[in-house]
């Protein structure tokens, strides 16, 4: 008997390893949730996993350059499996960032903008912020107005079509977006206590 392997794919998260920031905390959080994971370095690696995470901290323009150097951009854009961008990884799936005036992956047609000083807020936006979510499956089991841990100086503009969770800090922005199989969260689920653990678990359960 020949087994059709396409029905035997186990849940395993591939983390795009493109050198933008440390991923120790992310892998530790996945381990605590008993979610298996591995690293994506090449295009064939992308096929090995059921779900893909694009992590990232630091400068969006610099992160995009690093991602381009991996040669994975085309293959990532063509993915049909669930993809989650975290923080700068989320910003990468948008069209453009004001940070380094960078053209990004353009998967979700929204822009990444700078928190302006005229908003009279402290920058970076650092700490636990209320998040209003729209009952997307990524937020299943997460309480209304649960708080998540944010650290960023640039934000993703609010667009009701793609927004699945929003936050207020000086203005309303997207805390999470979705377009088809592509998801992004501005906060750090790996640092957001129980609420963050829900997000990682829910993402691993998406199909």
């Amino acid at each position: 008997m020949i087994l059709d392997t396409k029905y035997l794919i186990l849940i395993m998260i591939g983390i795009v390893n493109y050198g933008a920031g440390n991923i120790f905390s992310l892998t530790a959080a996945l381990e605590r949730q008993n979610i298996t994971y591995g690293m994506v370095n090449t295009e064939t690696d992308l096929d090995k996993y059921s779900h893909i995470i694009i992590p990232g901290v630091g400068h969006a323009g610099a992160a995009m350059k690093k991602l381009e150097q991996t040669g994975l951009v085309g293959a990532i854009k063509a993915l049909k499996k669930p993809v989650l961008g975290i923080c700068v990884g989320m910003q990468l799936i948008t069209e453009h960032s004001e940070e380094g005036d960078a053209e990004l992956l353009g998967i979700v047609p929204v822009k990444t903008k700078k928190f302006e000083k005229t908003l009279q807020i402290k920058i970076p936006h650092m700490g636990w912020n209320d998040v209003e979510h729209k009952n997307n499956s990524l937020f299943e089991g997460v309480e209304d107005n649960a708080q998540f841990y944010f650290v960023h100086s640039y934000f993703i503009e609010y667009n009701p079509t793609f927004d699945i969770a929003s936050a207020n800090y000086g203005l309303k922005f997207s805390a999470a977006v979705q377009k088809d199989n592509f998801y992004g969260v501005q906060f750090h689920p790996e640092k957001s206590g129980k609420a963050g653990e829900h997000i990682l678990k829910n993402f691993s359960n998406l199909s």
Binding site: A28, T118, P124, E190
Partner: protein, 273 residues
């Protein structure tokens, strides 16, 4: 006419009284002193198996509702870097909230090792005073969000003066000017400890904290003087700081974080419950 315009503008853009009723919570941060990979200073949580184990203590604080933790390493041996990295890794494996590591960070390589071990932020103090360019280098390499500048300050002859080595060594720097310079260089957050208030349990230095808070556009953590719950309410309401840090009142169980947060909430201060 210009004066009216100015008044309107000032009013319109005046920061909210508490510094941010905009969805961002005020943070409560327990601080742990670590030596040779073990927490020092007495800690008397009844249900701790090993009060010297930073991992267990950190997990306990996270469960109580601490928003963030700061570890200050006071190890003086040449093994310090290795033991510190091991500790940071163990903490990062277990902890689901952010944490900062401070103590003995003098170069980019120290910071990089800590980042790769899972630290969210590093705190620098003496090394930045000796070499202010370190702030800039760290911010450029890892982003401003990674760089906390810790400042120990003492009131002397009507001036606020930066001190090093836990207050034992005086510098020529005025606190206000030093903090402003650090912000310009790329510090992402300020941890300000008043040596005059530290250990007194008589409350935070609200006057100084308020002054500094108005001066800068990056988050500020108040430290030194916490003795009772009211002190936290006071520092958020009067000084508008973003976070408050304390050590012994938490370690000795004099203030329990869940009670503290409920009290802050009752006073209209946004907190994560």
């Amino acid at each position: 006419m210009d004066k009216i315009k100015e008044t309107i503008q000032t009013k319109q853009f005046a920061p909210l009284p508490s510094g941010g009723l905009r969805g961002l919570s005020k943070r409560i941060i327990p601080c742990l002193d670590v030596k040779d990979g073990r927490t020092v200073k007495g800690v008397n949580f009844v249900d701790l198996r090993d009060a010297g184990d930073p991992v267990e203590l950190a997990a306990q604080y996270a469960q109580q509702g601490a928003d963030e933790l700061v570890f200050l390493d006071i190890t003086a041996t040449h093994e310090r870097r290795k033991t510190m990295i091991e500790m940071v890794k163990s903490v990062a494996r277990q902890l689901n909230i952010p944490f900062t590591i401070g103590g003995g960070i003098t170069e980019i390589a120290d910071a990089e090792a800590l980042l790769n071990a899972g630290a969210d932020k590093i705190s620098i103090n003496s090394a930045a005073v000796k070499n202010p360019k370190l702030i800039e280098d760290l911010a450029k390499t890892f982003g401003v969000q990674f760089v906390v500048l810790a400042v120990d300050t003492k009131h002397i002859d009507g001036k606020n003066i930066v001190h090093l080595n836990g207050g034992r060594l005086i510098t020529e720097l005025e606190t206000e000017a030093w903090i402003k310079k650090a912000e310009d260089l790329g510090a992402g957050e300020i941890l300000l400890t008043s040596m005059d208030h530290d250990g007194t349990k008589a409350g935070f230095d609200c006057n100084l904290l308020s002054k500094i808070n108005k001066m800068i556009n990056i988050p500020i953590i108040a430290s030194g003087g916490a003795g009772k719950t009211e002190h936290f309410t006071e520092v958020f309401q009067k000084a508008g700081v973003d976070a408050a840090l304390a050590a012994s009142v938490f370690h000795y169980g004099e203030i329990l974080i869940p009670d503290l947060k409920q009290e802050l909430k009752r006073n209209g201060i946004p907190v994560r419950i």
